[in-house]
Amino acid sequence: MIAYIMCFILFLVGLYGVITRRNLVKIAVSLSIMEISTFLFFALIGYVDGGVAPIVDPADPVKVYVDPLPQALVLTAIVIGLATTAMLMAIIIRLYRKYKTFDIREIKNLRG
């Protein structure tokens, strides 16, 4: 149970960063931290005590496997997370070239 609570605290740390920081790069970092905590939570759900990794060996069948369904969901989500993070960084570098700053408050003051 402690692992679930720590995982949730990690999510809250990311949320705190998104809400209170003004720097665009730090907001991106906080978003990726929230993403990572979600991946960890999915992996925690599927864990079975004494289970082995979900690879079937035909010669030596084992009865207990770790749940493969959450792993399959997370597997695709990790790669999508890389693409979306790259898109976020592209937007950020474009904004920096235009306004010469990372501060969202200043960007808002510069242009309405």
Partner: protein
């Protein structure tokens, strides 16, 4: 973007090919060992990114003319769309019936169409991530400071 020193270049020459082969291995053996299309595709893209970082943008003929870069960029985009569409056209027809023979569990040629899915998805992921990286490099080189 300029390349790095000769030590980095020589080391990259030795290593990049092996990383590429490892990615191909992960993709092809996706239905037998840990890994698969997503993991192998990212590793293949990583080998290309390593070569690009070590040798610099000039090595890939990312010249300053507008037409050349635009053509490369458009071709890359079209390639991604074509590969994705090919995978889907091939895929949606057979999503629910694994029509090829299953074979023996544990052999390289088995599991019907799953290795083909692995290969298609791996190609798509590798192309996508490398294109993101290339577009960032082109943007940083060509935009006025």
């Amino acid at each position: 973007m300029k390349g790095m020193t000769i030590i980095v270049k020589k080391t990259t020459q030795l290593i990049a090919g092996m990383i590429f082969m490892y990615g191909i291995y992960i993709i092809v053996h996706g239905h037998l060992t840990p890994g698969g299309g997503f993991a192998g595709g990212v590793i293949v893209a990583g080998s290309f990114i390593l070569v690009t970082l070590a040798y610099g943008g000039d090595f890939l003929k990312l010249v300053k003319e507008e037409s050349g870069t635009t053509i490369i960029e458009s071709l890359a985009t079209i390639m991604v769309i074509l590969i994705a569409t090919a995978g889907f056209l091939f895929g949606t027809r057979v999503f629910f019936n694994n029509f090829l023979p299953k074979g023996v569990v544990g052999q390289l040629v088995s599991a019907g169409v799953l290795p083909l899915y692995n290969i298609f998805v791996g190609t798509e992921v590798a192309a996508s991530i490398f294109i993101i990286f290339l577009s960032l490099i082109i943007f940083k080189e060509e935009s006025p400071k």
